[in-house]
């Protein structure tokens, strides 16, 4: 894929909305366009986290291994969302397994390439970190709600 096309796809992704042009160019050098068939294991829990995905279409389920049981499916991510932040945080290993539940198209950013750019260009690194922090904050909020098991506590339609 041409660099110009990749740049356009990157600009269209909500995660990168408003990113400075020069920073977008940095990302183009780390990016590739990828497609996963339904049922593809995109990342596996415990393995090296060397990619950061910006989902364009489809759906990816995050699963955790539970001894003696089927893998527990805990969350899905879809168009406009990101997949994986372990590329940024030592020891750079996936905490979840990611499986495409629908055919999925994404932009894959090389984790090591991104880390190096973040280390050498603090302005770029801060721009990335700000965006990732927002994603993390939303995910934590959602996880808290999931933990509350609100429907388990729910009593009624009106009051019963």
């Amino acid at each position: 894929m041409e660099k110009e096309d990749l740049s356009e796809l990157l600009q269209q992704h909500p995660f990168l909305a408003g990113l400075a042009h020069e920073h977008m160019q940095v990302l183009v050098g780390c990016a590739s366009n990828v497609r996963f068939e339904e049922g593809t294991v995109i990342m596996r829990e415990g393995q090296m986290a060397n990619k950061f995905y910006l989902i364009r279409s489809g759906r990816v389920a995050l699963e955790m291994q539970v001894t003696g049981k089927d893998d527990l499916r805990i969350q899905t991510v879809g168009p406009g969302e990101t997949l994986g932040w372990s590329w940024l945080i030592s020891p750079y290993r996936w905490h979840f397994t990611g499986v495409s539940v629908l055919e999925t198209r994404a932009l894959a950013l090389d984790g090591e390439c991104l880390r190096k750019k973040c280390e050498t260009d603090s302005e770029f690194g801060y721009a990335m970190l700000k965006r990732l922090s927002q994603v993390m904050e939303r995910r934590i909020e959602a996880t808290r709600l999931q933990l509350l098991d609100v429907y388990g506590m729910q009593q009624t339609g009106v009051s019963q």
Binding site: R59, Y151, Q155, T156, G157, V158, Q160
Partner: protein
């Protein structure tokens, strides 16, 4: 006493008197939630309800529970209530069989205002059994679909097997006139839909904040986070409606059991415009 007031006393129905109605069928939606269909018989001739209203459902000798009406308002003579089996009354209701007689009184309470949404987009956000009181409004919208812009149904449940009205959800999802997004808190590998809380679905839809009316019903904490999402997307509070829930006893504003701050939910609610209850949502003691 004048002749006029005598006549009034003779004709005004006692709001505490129940009407006997027959059980037509029970359909189990999931392990602990069922939809009870009632035959209203002659009582049905004069029974009319608005989406969002509720009935007091009485099991003779056991007691009453306030339960939202979940059927099509245009369907005469029968009535649906979707009920979570949690207490004495609802457990007794769950054991009823076709032909058994129970009592109802109602309908009570405020309703989802549909007129405010004409010409606008509609976003229905529901969680768990909160879909039950919203189902009648969806029926009404679908009957006059051309009166509205986009119609979006967001629904969250605990797991795929806990979702209500699965056949209808499928039907609506296949109807191009409604955008249906369903998510569950927990899924397994057979579930190919969304997994995550209902608020996570907002990132997949674009709302026109100035031209959208939102109807929200579910556990209170789910409604709080949903309201946050709607406000984050610029929806004015005046365009958001929600259905509140408290322990109701008399349903006519006498007993005070359902008091929430300055309002009795049975009488002024359960459906409120958000500005009316927004300050109360964060008060722990209420």
């Amino acid at each position: 006493m004048t002749r006029k007031s005598n006549a009034l006393m003779e004709t005004a129905p006692d709001p505490m008197i129940t009407q006997p109605v027959g059980v037509r069928r029970i359909i189990w939606e999931n392990d602990d939630t069922f939809t009870l269909t009632l035959d209203l018989g002659a009582f049905g001739e004069n029974f009319h309800f608005l989406p969002g209203q509720f009935n007091m459902v009485y099991v003779y000798g056991i007691g009453e529970a306030a339960i939202s009406i979940s059927s099509d308002p245009a369907r005469g003579h029968t009535l649906d209530h979707t009920i979570h089996r949690v207490g004495l009354v609802t457990t007794a209701l769950a054991q009823k069989k076709r032909g058994d007689v129970i009592g109802i009184r109602g309908p009570y309470g405020s309703s989802w205002p549909l007129d405010v949404a004409r010409g606008k987009d509609v976003c229905i956000a529901s969680g768990g059994i909160g879909l039950a009181p919203l189902r009648p409004i969806l029926y009404n919208i679908m009957k006059k679909r051309e009166d509205f812009g986009r119609v979006i149904l967001l629904y969250g449940g605990r797991s795929p097997l806990d979702l209500l009205y699965r056949v209808e959800l499928e039907k609506w999802a296949n109807d191009f006139r409604v955008e249906v997004l369903v998510t569950v808190d927990r899924g397994d590998s057979s579930w190919k839909g969304h997994i995550g809380v209902v608020t996570s679905l907002f990132q997949y839809i674009k709302l026109d904040a100035r031209a959208t009316v939102a109807y929200v019903c579910g556990p209170e904490i789910m409604m709080k986070y949903t309201i946050d999402e709607l406000e984050r997307r610029g929806l004015p509070q005046t365009q958001i409606y929600l259905s509140m829930e408290r322990n109701m006893k008399c349903a006519v504003g006498f007993c005070g059991h359902c008091q929430m701050g300055p309002t009795f939910i049975c009488k002024e609610g359960p459906v409120y415009p958000l500005p009316r209850v927004r300050p109360l949502l964060d008060k722990k003691e209420l």
